[in-house]
Symmetry: C2
Amino acid sequence: MKVLVIGANGQIGKKIVGLLRASNQHQARAMVRTKEQVELFRHLGVETVYANLEGTVNEIAEAANGCDALVFTAGSGGKTGADKTLLVDLDGAVKAIEAAEKVGIQRFILVSALQAHHRENWNEAIKPYYVAKHYADRILEASALNYTIIRPGGLTNEQGTGRVSAAENLKRGTIPREDVAEVIIASLTEEKTYKRAFDIISGDTPIKEALSLL
Amino acid sequence: MKVLVIGANGQIGKKIVGLLRASNQHQARAMVRTKEQVELFRHLGVETVYANLEGTVNEIAEAANGCDALVFTAGSGGKTGADKTLLVDLDGAVKAIEAAEKVGIQRFILVSALQAHHRENWNEAIKPYYVAKHYADRILEASALNYTIIRPGGLTNEQGTGRVSAAENLKRGTIPREDVAEVIIASLTEEKTYKRAFDIISGDTPIKEALSLL
């Protein structure tokens, strides 16, 4: 599969691109939003496209054209305000969904947040972020795409363990970004993740096995 | 019809409550979010309930129970940040939709914003507000409720003229809040507005006639 990684310059995005390049099965196309990032990725030999999530659906559709799957792992980040949360994490995600529909890419993986589907479990400190995630998830679920919504717990920079817990509902926990990236790659072709949404935190089960048991 | 007015203490909300009280056809129930507002409305002889859009769906459902229609005209206002826009204008509106579904209220009128359905026409200065409106509208349209989405142009405090332009797509314009309130009341029972969304600005056609021509 050729996979468009939206948010390729992000912390999880970089790991996904690395894993795709190391894989025999897949190829990466990185989507980034500054000319400097384009240069950087191209220097590393990665197929790279320039498009901004605050731009038009057409711009994203053009960047996605010819790919077989789309991974959305962009986020406005904790340093920006809730205005960017609305524009990137919500509207940007939905534009990517519409772009996928437009160019006929069926497979769509969205990185969300633990328990984004249950308001009562939203982390008070980042509630606006949860609202954005919740509605992006709902729009994707209502689409005709073959989606997977991955809802990780608190993200850490620890080394991945390759072992997770995955289920529709999990209690709070953390997970290394490395493991989230592995879960995304493994989900691409794991049919048990098709048209599904699930929480994921560090656990005892090897990633592939955990996904096959969903 | 008994109509729950969510955002009754807002500038349009107060006018709607006034019109409902003056009508022979309808009754008002005001929903407000502070105890002081409850006192104020009750002093004026208005049936009033206390509920917060940042609370639970159940809390709103309880406030709505027994009504025949729901008008959502709450807004976080220009003075608060985009975090409140997400929590009130988007998530609050959708909680109200879910509350209506929960207690079996079919008729739902949502006040949106001119051209909220077309990203390319969003007012740059208040783009996060448009994102919130856009997604609340989409969730309502995807529901099974008998909705009307009213998208007014720039709101003014001028006296109403009773005359408007109403259509699926209008160019930018303004409209007095008084006229928006009249449009909402007239829409309650105008079948041409059922399951419809339309722009509205000041114009030449009497309100009832404009709605009957939709």
